[in-house]
């Protein structure tokens, strides 16, 4: 009997690993090995025709820390995250509250909010190009009606990053709205009735009952929005290419540029590692603190 059990157990183990092997091989090839390889190559110098690559320790990292562009990019990305995360969450929440209440043309409104989500970032950038183009663009034309001068939104350092931020918010707010909508639909009707009986205003009801119940969703969206603030950079290729003067350059774009335009893989690798560390911290916070706190969901 015991022999039978252990045989069955062994059989299960073999099945388990066979079933897992395609995923394990692919994940190793395209996630785990590359992560380690990135760490490894971030410790070596660039291989050139004249000099083979040699071990440099943390020199690539100290180079980065001494590089003003790197700090510019970090500041930009912090601003990008600092603006896109809260603003898109706030807009998404407003959208969800509206799209969930009884208002006229609700179908149209929901569709309008969600549509940007299904567009490629590249297409979104092309659409917004039409808004931002100096002289001809929609923004300038509207400004012109009020006698405002033409502004080169994408061409001046003060506005370029904001122009990029607006496109990101436009793209992701509707997506986040969906999660709020789903959460709103799980809030029992009784709570609303009880609040009405108690004579609560709609504002009090929203602030004291709805918002706390939406907290787990907000945290979930926040993690996603943080990841997006690293990931969503496609529109830079169309709108600004990181310019002018690196004013709108973000970290992933800089990694791409370093590796595929300047052919400096070691420094790109060092930056990749720094990004992975940050993402790891976000993951750690999510899996430990947030998942525990959202248990009551």
């Amino acid at each position: 009997m015991a022999d039978h059990v252990s045989k069955e157990r062994r059989r299960q183990a073999i099945y388990g690993w066979i079933l897992l092997s395609p995923a394990a091989i692919l994940l190793t090839t395209f996630a785990f090995y590359p992560s380690l390889a990135t760490l490894w190559s971030s410790l070596f110098s660039r291989e050139t025709r004249r000099r083979p690559s040699e071990f440099k320790g943390v020199e690539n990292y100290t180079d980065l820390f001494a590089d003003p562009t790197f700090w510019k990019v970090i500041t930009n990305n912090l601003m990008y995250a600092g603006a896109t995360v809260p603003i898109s969450i706030a807009i998404a929440l407003a959208m969800a509250l509206w799209a969930n209440s009884k208002i006229p043309a609700r179908g149209f409104i929901r569709t309008a909010y969600f549509t940007p989500t299904v567009l490629p970032m590249i297409a979104a950038a092309n659409l917004w190009l039409f808004f931002y183009t100096p002289g001809l663009g929609v923004l300038d034309q509207i400004g012109g009606l009020f006698g405002l001068p033409s502004v080169n939104w994408l061409g001046q350092p003060e506005t370029a990053l904001w122009a990029v931020i607006i496109v990101t918010i436009w793209k992701e707010a509707g997506f986040f709205m969906i999660f709020y909508l789903a959460a709103l639909q799980t809030i029992p009707e009784d709570l609303k009735e009880a609040a009405d009986i108690e004579g609560c205003s709609r504002w009090t009801y929203t602030r004291r009952i709805v918002l706390p119940l939406l907290m787990p969703t907000t945290l979930f969206i926040m993690v996603n929005a943080l990841i997006n603030s690293v990931k969503l950079i496609d529109h830079l290729f169309i709108l600004t290419k990181g310019g002018p003067n690196d004013a709108s350059k973000l970290i992933l774009y800089y990694i791409w540029e370093m590796a595929f335009a300047f052919f400096d893989a070691p420094h790109a690798a060092a930056m990749t590692i720094l990004v992975l560390v940050v993402l790891g911290v976000v993951a750690g916070i999510k899996f430990t603190i947030l998942d525990k706190r959202t248990h009551y969901q």
């Binding site: 299960q12 183990a13 099945y15 388990g16 079933l19 897992l20 395609p22 995923a23 692919l26 994940l27 090839t29 395209f30 996630a31 090995y33 590359p34 390889a37 990135t38 807009i91 407003a94 959208m95 509206w98 208002i103 006229p104 149209f108 409104i109 909010y113 549509t115 940007p116 299904v118 567009l119 490629p120 970032m121 590249i122 297409a123 092309n126 659409l127 190009l129 039409f130 183009t133 001809l136 034309q141 997506f175 969906i178 999660f179 909508l181 789903a182 690293v230 950079i233 290729f237 992933l252 990694i255 791409w256 590796a259 595929f260 690798a269 990749t272 990004v275 992975l276 976000v282 899996f287």
Partner: protein, 269 residues
């Protein structure tokens, strides 16, 4: 008072909706008008298809469409196979090290393929897959997100069905194929919608691993077509943009409910 705030809110909601949809509406307008008419917003100006003709002649769009179509198909098939097997292993098979490996898989949710472009590029080149559709698709096939989704779906299958199939003489493969896969159909549908729209829209990685019109997907083609160096005017870019988003956009408008459901299902664990 109450109706007043209500009306103001309804107005706000509508205003936001109009703002949100306006970039698309303006591009639509520009795509069907000459550049000068488009930027002057002359409502009475005639509609034209010239921009589409110019755009269509300016790049191998048919090839791009085909590449994107092939790409999303290859990725989807790969993902279905890999995530089904792995999801089943994590959900229903007992084996040592399972939980540890599962945590490793979850870690991949945060090791974004986008961030690893440098080494993944080296890897794809080493495998001889540079500038192939398979090379573009492969890093996405073992999606941690998909594995997680399938595991959740398979965990919801009643064990009685599993036992019954076993009593009837089904092997592991039979049970997976006849019991679990059919029961998880809604999850597959949801995952398919999310996967297709993600990869239809993906840009950075395909930009890096493709190098010829024979493999380039729509997004990369569109970015090259619209590059300022090419000096294409705004109406023609709008036409090209409309053209490349049309299939997904039309599908979305028709299957809106399913789409939204799919996104919901994918986001909520």
């Amino acid at each position: 008072m109450k109706t007043l705030t209500r009306n103001i809110e309804a107005l706000g909601a509508l205003l936001l909706a109009i703002i949100w949809i306006s970039p698309l509406v303006f591009a639509f307008w520009a795509a069907f008008h000459t550049t000068s008419d488009a930027v002057n917003f002359n409502i009475t100006s005639p509609w034209t298809l010239d921009n589409f003709r110019t755009a269509w002649a300016g790049a191998p769009w048919l090839k791009y469409f085909l590449n994107t179509f092939l790409l999303v198909t290859v990725i989807l098939i790969g993902q279905f196979i890999v995530t089904t097997l792995a999801g089943f292993a994590f959900a229903q098979v007992q084996f040592p090290g399972r939980d540890f490996v599962f945590i490793l898989v979850l870690m991949q949710l945060f090791i974004l393929p986008e961030v690893l472009i440098v080494e993944n590029y080296a890897m794809v080149s080493r495998l001889g897959l540079f500038d192939t559709i398979l090379g573009v698709g492969m890093p996405y096939m073992a999606s941690a997100f998909g594995i997680f989704l399938m595991r959740q779906a398979f965990k919801g299958v009643p064990i009685e069905l599993h036992e019954a199939a076993r009593v009837e003489g089904c092997g592991w493969v039979g049970i997976l194929w006849r019991v679990y896969v059919p029961l998880a159909r809604p999850t597959y549908l949801a995952y398919a919608l999310v996967s297709v729209s993600t990869h239809w829209n993906n840009f950075l990685w395909p930009l890096i691993v493709t190098n010829s019109p024979d493999t380039r997907p729509l997004t990369v083609g569109l970015s090259i077509f619209g590059a300022p160096e090419n000096g294409v005017d705004i109406s023609v870019i709008s036409a090209a943009t409309m053209m490349s988003v049309a299939p997904l956009l039309i599908a979305f408008l028709i299957f809106q409910r399913q789409f939204v459901q799919a996104f919901l299902r994918s986001g909520i664990k």
